[in-house]
């Protein structure tokens, strides 16, 4: 028989030994629970981000204004935009491109807004020194990150969430100068 129906009044209060194991199990749960915020603060691997609701057309209009006022050149057809140190920077995923290319100064903090105008995308920032940061980007949500580049160079952005026929060409760049 795979299981048996126990006799009535089968429940017995835990004895001393069982209580010790319950206590050890509970304490370990607390250790694991508090290790998450502690690692978040001291591990320096998890990013703190904020999310807001935004209409894709409003975000797109803000990106166009950002490009218009801060553009310093072009890489092919894609504008290179240099935000003010400490200021807001915008990157938009849509139409199989991360737009525009950002040019940042090493050691300065920026408030980076990322959103999508069409589908769900995966913002995957990759560069030298093994940098690999990934964020889910959804249309209708402004994903806000405070970033301080600590290494100069070229950082590539790829889309790592399948988004359609030209997902494989969806790339972007962040340039960091000394």
């Amino acid at each position: 028989m795979s299981f048996m129906i126990p006799e009535k009044d089968w429940f017995k209060a835990p004895d001393k030994g069982e209580k010790s194991w319950i206590a050890i199990g509970f304490i370990w749960c607390l250790v694991l629970f508090f290790s998450m915020p502690i690692w978040h603060i001291y591990g320096k691997q998890n990013s703190s981000s904020e999310s807001y609701r935004v209409k894709p057309e409003d975000f797109s209009a803000r990106v166009m204004k950002f490009v218009e006022t801060n553009s310093i050149g072009k890489d092919g057809n894609t504008p290179i935009v240099q935000p003010k140190p400490g200021g807001h920077a915008y990157v938009m995923g849509g139409g199989y491109i991360w737009y525009p290319i950002l040019k940042l100064k090493k050691g300065n903090e920026y408030i980076l807004h990322i959103s999508s105008t069409d589908y769900q995308h995966g913002f995957s920032l990759q560069g030298e020194a093994g940098i690999n940061m990934n964020f889910q980007i959804l249309p209708g949500y402004d994903h806000v990150l405070k970033i301080t580049p600590t290494t100069s160079g070229t950082f590539n952005i790829v889309c790592n969430e399948f988004c359609g026929a030209r997902h494989h060409v969806m790339t972007g760049k962040i340039l960091v100068e000394d």
Partner: protein, 48 residues
Amino acid sequence: MGNENTHWLERLMENPWMLLILGIVVPTISYTVWGVYDVLSLPVAPLP
């Protein structure tokens, strides 16, 4: 069932319908409803 002297945990474990209800209600409230509330309560982006 129904024995006043039976421990409440035993009565609960012997009641599959109550276990089914708790198994649906608890994750629905703590996961689904909380998640929907969290998404709907997001503020509008100021886009400074």
